[in-house]
């Protein structure tokens, strides 16, 4: 058959079929390009870029090229950039120039860059504050010579060792002392409120307090010693413009020469950065460092949530499928489930804040924590309320998945169990639920995936941009449900949109987004796989 005439072709409906096929292609294309975009940007963040040098007038600028684009000249008219006349399109480079303490900004657009050089011995210093420093190494602790690179690395290694000890003392030991002091204060206050604070109690408390005070002072002295060990020592650097800068060694996180890296070095560096990203704490208003507390918070919240939601959802599904006869009441429940799934997540958030946090939490504080009032314990957003709120939010997911699993179990199995003399409850517990457990699992996984990506309600019920301490630590009762926590989704929103230095934060946001997407895709694909496996199995059973 050769081609139809166009009018016949149109009449045949073929164009519509093609268009509807195109809708599928377009959707699939968009999803995949979106994930590819995230992957490229996210994974690219950790790769050590070459540091280039460009000349602008009499300035020499060192930095990493982030973006090159052509832009029409008329768009740049208002910017006050000196441009050559007559050219319609202008090429410009976005360069991460670092050295924010000197120039005031991390990034800059540069026009007509001209020749790009790659100086071999340029250094990149990752610092605790002010972002990266790009420049040339002059001297370490006043010493010059060919071996200063090695000296610098040795010094940094020594300092980092001390710094990790300092961190341990500050976070764990002093943290514990503070925790116990606060407990003592609350204990005294509780006794006082009850009217039982006798002189003997007071003496005991005072003794304990002074013991802790001594311990605290001891730790402070130890800390000071450690700080003294690292406070001296500087490295003198020069910028591209030959400005000399002295940088204290203890402020340097990492010093490296990317232009001298071999491919292996690059790979090692790459994985080191990825490890830092998942295992370290954030620095510089979350724009540098890792996101470990956010990962930890997300996982913990999701775990508590699944412990809460799974029994609720399974019970509701079992009731709907196994016990209720299909009456008006079950239709009502189904409508409720549908609605629960359709209620905007922010409504859950505001409900959680009003009902759980202020109403229930406030009540709990009045009853059980009168000693810490007026500062709230559970009457403020925190981990517990976030988990409970998300448990309600994900309830329909678990119900629907479990119900589907129950529906797929053939009647013959139930009837067989009953015929063998099992009661209805026994059939349920010994036969039906074990068989439905993969479906329950699917529901749980989907609920976890939903909860891990949900942000809007969490903004109201317990997530913060920077939590001072993890909700799980070595102090009794170990799991602190009342604490605020960090969350990956909120981290993306916060760093991407509320950060003062958005250009510097952007790569980190891409990396976080990528990690979240990977987790969620894996969870979903697992759920889909489990479900498909289940369908196959029951199909086999039925035949």
């Amino acid at each position: 058959m050769n081609g139809l005439r166009s009018s016949d072709w149109f009449r045949s409906g073929a164009p519509w079929i093609w268009l509807s096929a195109a809708a599928v292609s377009l959707s699939i294309f968009t999803v995949s390009s979106l994930i590819i975009l995230l992957a490229v940007r996210g994974f690219g963040h950790f790769w050590p870029d070459v540091v280039v040098e460009i000349n602008q007038g009499n300035r020499h600028i060192l930095g990493e090229i982030r973006q090159v684009e052509s832009i029409s000249a008329s768009r740049l008219k208002g910017l006050g950039v000196g441009l050559p006349a007559g050219e319609k399109m202008i090429e410009r480079h976005l360069i991460k120039t670092g050295n924010r303490d000197i120039t005031g900004s991390d990034f800059g657009w540069f026009y007509q860059v001209g020749k790009i050089q790659v100086p071999a011995d340029v250094y990149v210093l990752e610092r605790l504050e002010w972002g990266n420093f790009y420049g040339f190494l002059n001297a370490v602790n006043g010493r010059q010579g060919s071996d200063i690179s090695q000296i610098l690395q040795d010094q940094l290694a020594r300092i980092h060792l001390v710094q990790s000890e300092i961190k341990r003392i500050e976070k764990i030991e002093i943290g514990a002392v503070n925790f116990h002091l606060e407990e003592l204060r609350l204990k005294a206050r509780r006794l006082e409120l009850n009217g039982h604070l006798s002189a003997a109690d007071q003496a005991v408390l005072d003794a304990e307090r002074s013991r802790l005070g001594k311990q605290y002072q001891f730790l402070q002295r130890k800390l000071k010693e450690h700080y003294d060990k690292i406070s001296h020592g500087t490295v003198s650097m020069t910028t591209g413009d030959q400005t000399g800068v002295e940088i204290p060694l203890y402020k340097i996180v990492r010093a490296y020469q990317p232009n001298q890296f071999s491919t292996l070095d690059r790979l090692l560096f790459y994985f080191e950065k990825i490890w830092e990203f998942v295992a370290d704490e954030p620095r510089e208003a979350n724009t540098e460092g890792g996101i470990f507390p956010a990962i930890f918070g997300t996982v913990l919240m999701v775990l508590i949530m699944s412990v809460l939601v799974t029994p609720m959802g399974v019970v509701a599904a079992v009731y709907l499928r196994e016990y209720a006869n299909q009456s008006f009441f079950t239709r009502l429940i189904r409508i409720a489930v549908n609605n629960l799934a359709g209620v905007p997540s922010i409504v859950y958030g505001i409900f959680g804040l009003g009902f759980f946090v202020y109403f229930l939490g406030g009540g709990i504080d009045q009853l059980f924590y009168p000693e810490s009032l007026p500062s709230p314990v559970f009457g403020t957003p925190g981990l517990l309320w976030a988990s409970v709120t998300l448990a309600i939010l994900t309830l329909p997911v678990v119900i629907v998945a479990t119900e589907e699993g129950l529906a797929r179990i053939p009647r013959s199995i139930r009837e067989g169990s009953l015929a063998l003399g099992a009661t209805k409850a026994e059939t349920l517990w010994r036969t039906v639920i074990p068989m439905a457990s993969p479906a329950i699992m699917t529901g749980m996984i989907l609920a976890i995936s939903r909860a891990a990506g949900e942000v809007a309600p969490l903004m109201l019920v317990g997530v913060v941009k920077l939590a001072p301490s993890l909700p799980l630590d070595a102090n009794f009762p170990f799991l602190h449900l009342e604490r605020k926590f960090m969350h990956m989704g909120f981290h993306i929103f916060d760093v991407g949109f509320q950060s003062p230095n958005i250009e510097a934060a952007r790569p980190l946001v891409y990396a976080t987004a990528l990690l979240l997407v990977i987790v969620i895709i894996i969870l979903n694909l697992t759920a889909i796989a489990v479900r498909n496996h289940l369908r196959e199995r029951f199909r086999a059973l039925e035949n």
């Binding site: 079929i17 999803v31 008329s74 922010i346 958030g349």
Partner: protein, 721 residues
């Protein structure tokens, strides 16, 4: 088990009732409670009452210059003081200044003024609150003569701020006299001196009944009893200029009361028929300023003898001659309550600074003390959903502006711009999602090869699972700047994509059959994938040349300057695309299920009767699946309306009412997310945010229930097939 099942119902009912529980106090009428009635504390004729912050102590000024501080609950005198007037001088007029200052001016029969301030000093000895009243004389020793001769100051207006104090007085057959004291700081010695200036204003009225001066000491109002009002402006150099004459009460009525609303931008006018009207200066589009009647209240019938503004809100209390006290809110245009306090008529009224109590005196010689519970007067149906004429606005408008930097700010809580923004975002998202999702689902459910389907369906599920925070982040930080750079590309893509697909499809028939049969109809999307990529790339590659050619290199410049359309980087296109993307899988999945579950014998029968596949599709499959498609659209709409993170991140979150595709919006959900953490618990703002949540809840509830019911009904009808 039944308990577990009903748990779901309990959850949904609990959410609903909790939201209602937080919202209902907004619409409750205030409660008033008569606490005490006692004989007027002290002697003499009352000029004025005032109440302290805690409503525990009140002060009463009399015409003989005596000042009595008394306990509000018992009427017991606490402190007696006096203005300390000379023996031959009487009080001839009275002028309270802005109530927050507590300063009161008395015009005297000798042509001068006495300024005093009552203060209630709160201290906490032994953790017990103690309030000590105190009377201070202000500007003592200064020359406070309004008239040089000994003529009585018959009408007086006073305002005093840290920097300056202005007195405006009138006496029969004289011009209005204006005295101003300004603080001047000596640069060298830092010594503060007061500079006194005098000004005379000739007036056209024979007799002045009311004189008023605004808080900023810039506008003077003078009115006679017939309701002719003159407006004067004092400019920065102190010269006074006549601006406007206006009739402020209806013909035949007399003016019985004149007061400022808090902030003193609005005048409240009480008339002999009990009507109260609000007036303020409106600047129109030609920059002409005129005092304009804004709204009127007709809740009281007897002459209004006193109007007392609340200290910080835009509410006021009014007492009339028949003994009623009315509680109003101006901006919300709401009469909250009218209650008779005394059958014998009232003489004076004062409210506490928190507007939670009032003191009034009846003509039968009793002082009444009432408590008022009135937490949310500023909310009414009209203030939430209708245009409201706010002070300083040229016309009534829908405004959401819940907080501002200054204290004098009045929160503007119209839900209209937010609801509008919500629907706007949802509409644009549905415009993107509906065709793609339904076409795609129809293809997937009916035409697609089953092996491909096994890949596409999980892909769509993954798409549904993508966290909206990531979509929002990409939309705000990647899509928005990209689209700004390639705006023409979007328009090109809109035309090029369908045209390109159709041309490719047409040309496909001419490809040798040998190759063509290798790709059966069920696999078309796969060969279209590179086409999508190519067309997409082409659209954006053409963007810059087209922009150079048609718009001189800058389409934004052209839009703004030639068409007058303003352009936001985070606009509705971005939201439409991002949220459309989020809604596609929802609609897609349900539609696909519906299409797929159409019984095979129907389609086969249709094909056997000679219908083409597409005819079968539109006439049989779509018709049978229509309930499913309808509920898919409903649920998709519900999702678009409630979506928070995408709109939060992909729009500028400005509450505007404009359908322009190139501008952003602020939605109910994003608004809750932004403002809830800062909102004070149980405040009006807090409850209005709950109301916004309730609106969202009800909307999605109705949409979802409707979807469920329609699906159920139509499913039963088609099940006979």
């Amino acid at each position: 088990m039944a308990i577990g099942g009903s748990g779901v119902i309990v959850a949904i009912v609990l959410i609903f009732f909790y939201l209602m529980y937080e919202v209902i106090p907004l619409f409750q009428s205030p409660a008033v409670d008569p606490v005490a009635v006692y004989s007027i504390p002290g002697d003499g004729h009352t000029l004025l009452y005032a109440v302290d912050e805690q409503a525990e102590i009140a002060v009463r000024y009399t015409d003989s210059g005596e000042v009595f501080f008394f306990d509000t609950k018992t009427g017991k005198l606490i402190l007696q003081n006096s203005l300390g007037l000379p023996a031959d001088v009487r009080i001839s007029s009275l002028a309270p200044s802005d109530p927050q200052t507590g300063i009161i001016g008395f015009g005297l029969s000798d042509g001068s003024v006495r300024l005093v301030r009552h203060r209630f000093i709160v201290s906490f000895p032994n953790d017990i609150r103690k309030i000590v009243p105190k009377l201070e004389v202000i500007l003592e020793g200064q020359d406070l003569r309004i008239f040089d001769e000994r003529v009585p100051v018959q009408k007086l207006a006073v305002q005093s701020s840290k920097k300056s104090t202005t007195l405006v007085g009138w006496s029969q057959d004289r011009p209005i006299s204006l005295i101003r004291f300004e603080q001047e700081e000596d640069f060298l010695s830092d010594q503060v001196t007061l500079k006194r200036s005098v000004n005379q204003i000739k007036i056209l009225l024979e007799k002045i009944g009311y004189l008023a001066l605004d808080k900023d000491q810039q506008v003077i109002y003078a009115a006679d009893y017939q309701g002719i009002l003159l407006r004067y402006t004092i400019d920065r150099r102190g010269t006074v200029q006549f601006d406007q004459q206006v009739q402020i009460v209806k013909a035949g009525e007399t003016l019985t009361s004149l007061a400022f609303l808090s902030g003193s931008l609005s005048l409240l006018v009480g008339a002999s028929n009990g009507a109260i009207s609000q007036w303020f200066i409106v600047t129109d589009h030609e920059n002409r300023r005129a005092l304009t009647r804004i709204r009127e209240f007709h809740s009281q019938q007897a002459p209004i003898i006193s109007i007392v503004p609340e200290f910080s809100r835009k509410g006021f209390f009014a007492a009339d001659a028949s003994g009623n006290v009315g509680i109003y809110h101006a901006t919300a245009h709401r009469t909250l309550l009218v209650r008779q306090v005394s059958a014998s008529g009232l003489n004076s009224l004062a409210i506490s600074p928190r507007a939670d109590a009032f003191v009034t005196e009846s003509l039968s010689g009793k002082t009444h003390f009432w408590l008022v519970e009135n937490d949310h007067p500023e909310v009414s149906w009209s203030s939430l959903w209708e245009r409201v004429w706010y002070e300083n606005y040229p016309e009534p408008a829908y405004v959401w502006q819940s907080s501002a930097a200054t204290n004098d700010f009045e929160p503007k809580l119209s839900l209209m711009p937010l609801s509008f923004g919500t629907l706007k975002a949802a509409v644009y998202a549905m415009l993107v999602a509906t065709p793609l999702a339904i076409f795609g689902a129809v293809y997937t459910g009916y035409f697609m090869a089953s092996r491909l389907r096994q890949v596409v369906k999980p892909a769509i599920e993954v798409m549904e699972a993508l966290p909206t925070v990531i979509l929002g982040f990409l939309a705000g930080l990647w899509l928005a700047p990209t689209l700004e750079l390639y705006l023409p590309g979007v328009l090109i893509a809109l035309v090029l994509l369908p045209l390109g697909f159709l041309s490719f499809a047409y040309l496909w028939q001419f490809i040798p059959a040998l190759i063509r049969v290798k790709v059966p109809d069920g696999w078309i999307p796969v060969i279209l994938l590179p086409v999508v990529g190519f067309l997409g790339w082409l659209s954006f590659a053409l963007s810059v040349p087209v922009e150079q050619l048609l718009f001189d290199g800058d389409i934004r410049d052209w839009l703004t300057n030639d068409l007058g359309i303003s352009f936001d980087q985070r606009n509705s296109i971005v939201v439409g695309l991002a949220m459309g993307f989020a809604v596609i899988p929802t609609i897609f999945s349900i539609t696909e299920d519906a299409v797929f579950s159409v019984p095979k014998h129907l389609t086969v029968g249709s094909l056997a009767l000679g219908a083409t596949t597409w005819q079968t599709m539109t006439r049989v499959v779509l018709l049978t699946a229509s309930p499913g498609i309808f509920s898919a659209l409903m649920i998709g709409l519900g999702r678009a309306v409630g979506e928070t993170m995408i709109v939060l991140m992909a729009t500028g979150n400005t509450a505007i009412m404009d359908f322009s595709i190139l501008q952003g919006m602020r939605t109910l959900s994003a608004n809750i997310a932004v403002e809830m953490p800062e909102s004070e618990v149980a405040s009006t703002h807090y409850r209005v945010l709950f109301l916004a949540a309730l609106v969202l809840f009800l909307f999605t509830f109705i949409v979802n229930t409707l979807a469920e019911i329609v699906r159920h009904r139509l499913r039963r009808r088609y099940s006979s097939l």
